[in-house]
Symmetry: C2
Subunit: 332 residues, 2 copies
DNA sequence: CCCGATATTGGATACGTTTTCATGCATCTC
DNA sequence: GAGATGCATGAAAACGTATCCAATATCGGG
């Protein structure tokens, strides 16, 4: 028994038309009403599904969207991915996921795989300094950056949270509470944010209080602990991501720093556990799902008339991890 | 300027051999050492990458692994996905991700998309009662179930955490602390776990204390709150997932139940924030990444000699969310 | 020195689709 | 009514690869 898949040829034969006609009917070309109906009937009856394999080869592209994230384990990227999936599903496009680990080399390797697969649309949280992207873009990939942009590729549309406003709001909030020595705990690829932070802090900026960790949990913890130990005089810290925030809480606990009495903490990204933490964490919420969704919209719209990019609003959500400076000096 | 992609034909021409030879060299067939070297040289020089499109059509399958998860936002599935990605990357296989939302209909739709793409290997956390899988399997998909199995498809290999042991350990632990009225807060697709729970509890089981929520956060919260309000006499609860655990903590806080004084809590799945919670949550750790990795190994090994499946160990990690019953009656 | 066996090679074919192009037919215009 | 115009249609040609098969070259044994 040879269970061959039904092809367009079978449909054409059964409907008494040519394969070209079937193809046209199915992809919305012109055809006479009777023919169309007949073809559609046969299609339904035979349960025919056009093979993407043949189509892809013919069109020399596989459809589908490549999604390159630093770490799918990070809930922020999880939500971002969810947004992409939602949009892609409504367009019937498959999503090919790759985890770069914020390593340009791995990123390049994954892009290679995507190209090999004929994928010509990719949404990426770019890692590295952006050198790796030049050849990719020349290869004709429709690219949209999400969450971060890549230095030197300002012509690529990007969907970003409004980090500048978010950081400004957070810093102003901390300043308003009387804090002066405010630290920033950043992760990979946050040059942009760092400059916004310096900008928002103005003359108060202290380069020793700006620390950048690598992507891992361990590295984040080490950075936080190092910072707290080395500069016990700091009174507030802005963590540039939920991993960093987690590390800050852990390190603070380990060093017996009480939040918010000894240390005020604001974390980038609102995650469910921020509310479960004690004290609940004050955060800058980012619309992660929206970022993904909008990026998918952009990349699906494709080459035609590419907008400059999208900036989505952030929101400071005040919970309990910040206190006025001086509280620690209040009696007992 | 016509920037055509270099094809196998170009390589053949440049190397002065036939396309068949190039194909053989590149896919490990037999060839004379000189020919092989020459072809490889030209390949490298022209930066030739074989197009998956042509190959896929020829072999009538697209390679790549379909990954069907209920919710990529859930860190458990995030880690599982990470495991799959790691294994797939080492095999050079792309991973196509789909979120089912635990909805059999969406699941079927996604499977349809995969089939259309020619994907013939899929790793899935099956949703629903398993009816939807029969046609899929008949279509020749190499399938591996992860984390859950599908009722009525015991012939499909599955990679699971040892829920039975995990639950038994947790229940015994709670029993040992003096608890008698122990509740279970479950999510979708946890029939298996439920029966293990009943089994572990033995005569103590109280059906009113077994609650099943749907997949969403809201639903989980509603279930937890309803349970706590309706049965204030319960003293311990086992949450069947990190979403449920989160909901339990939130609901307990809302109802002014102190953990662990008024209520002992054990959560399935060890997540980073379990340690940040106050009190830190006692959990049953599951090797989510391993589950994904092993599932990928299984599905890549493919049709040949399919093992019965894999059971991975769980571990009870005692932190601070469980107390001996009677503590609440202690003075003050 | 010749024959058969083996290893290597390239031409040709097929995979399933989309798209171009030419054909036939009907309708429209002057 | 004749030529022009438009539309529906099907045959055929790609798309880039893997593989079948026949042909050639190499080698060993008799």
């Amino acid at each position: 028994m040879n269970m061959r898949r039904t092809t367009i040829k079978d449909v054409a034969e059964a409907a008494g038309v040519g394969v070209a006609t079937v193809s046209r009917v199915l992809s919305g070309g012109s055809a006479s009403p009777e023919t169309r109906e007949r073809v559609l009937n046969v299609t339904a009856q035979l349960d025919y599904r056009p093979s993407a394999l043949g189509r892809n080869l013919r069109q020399r592209r596989s459809g589908g969207i490549g999604l390159l994230l630093p770490d799918i384990t990070d809930t922020f990227y999880g939500r971002l991915a969810d947004g992409v999936l939602t949009c892609a599903r409504s367009a019937g496009e498959p999503v090919i996921l790759g985890a770069t680990g914020d390593d340009p080399e791995r990123e390049a390797e994954l892009i290679g795989t995507l190209l090999e697969q004929g994928v010509d649309r990719v949404i990426a949280v770019p890692s590295g300094d952006g050198d790796g992207w030049a050849p990719t873009l020349r290869a004709g990939l429709t690219t949209v950056f999400a969450h971060r942009l890549s230095p030197g590729h300002d012509d690529i549309p990007a969907v970003l949270a409004d980090d500048r406003a978010g950081i400004r709001t957070a810093v102003d909030y901390l300043k308003g509470l009387g804090h002066r020595r405010i630290a920033y705990l950043g992760g990979p690829g946050q040059e942009q944010r760092l400059s916004f932070f310096r900008q928002a802090l103005g003359p108060l900026v202290d380069e020793e209080l700006v620390v950048v960790a690598r992507g891992s949990r361990d590295s984040a913890y080490a950075a936080a602990a190092g910072l707290f130990q080395h500069r016990p005089d700091l009174t507030a810290v802005l963590a540039g991501g939920n991993l960093l925030g987690e590390a800050a809480v852990l390190a603070a606990r380990e060093l017996d720093l009480r939040i918010p009495r000894d240390l005020s903490l604001i974390m980038f990204d609102d995650v469910p556990w921020a509310e479960l933490c004690s004290p609940p964490l004050t955060v800058i919420a980012q619309p992660a799902q929206d970022i993904g969704y909008r990026a998918a919209e952009l990349v699906l719209r494709g080459g035609t008339r590419r907008p400059r990019g999208v900036l989505l609003p952030t929101e400071l959500i005040v919970r309990g991890s910040c206190a006025a400076r001086g509280t620690s000096r209040s009696p007992r």
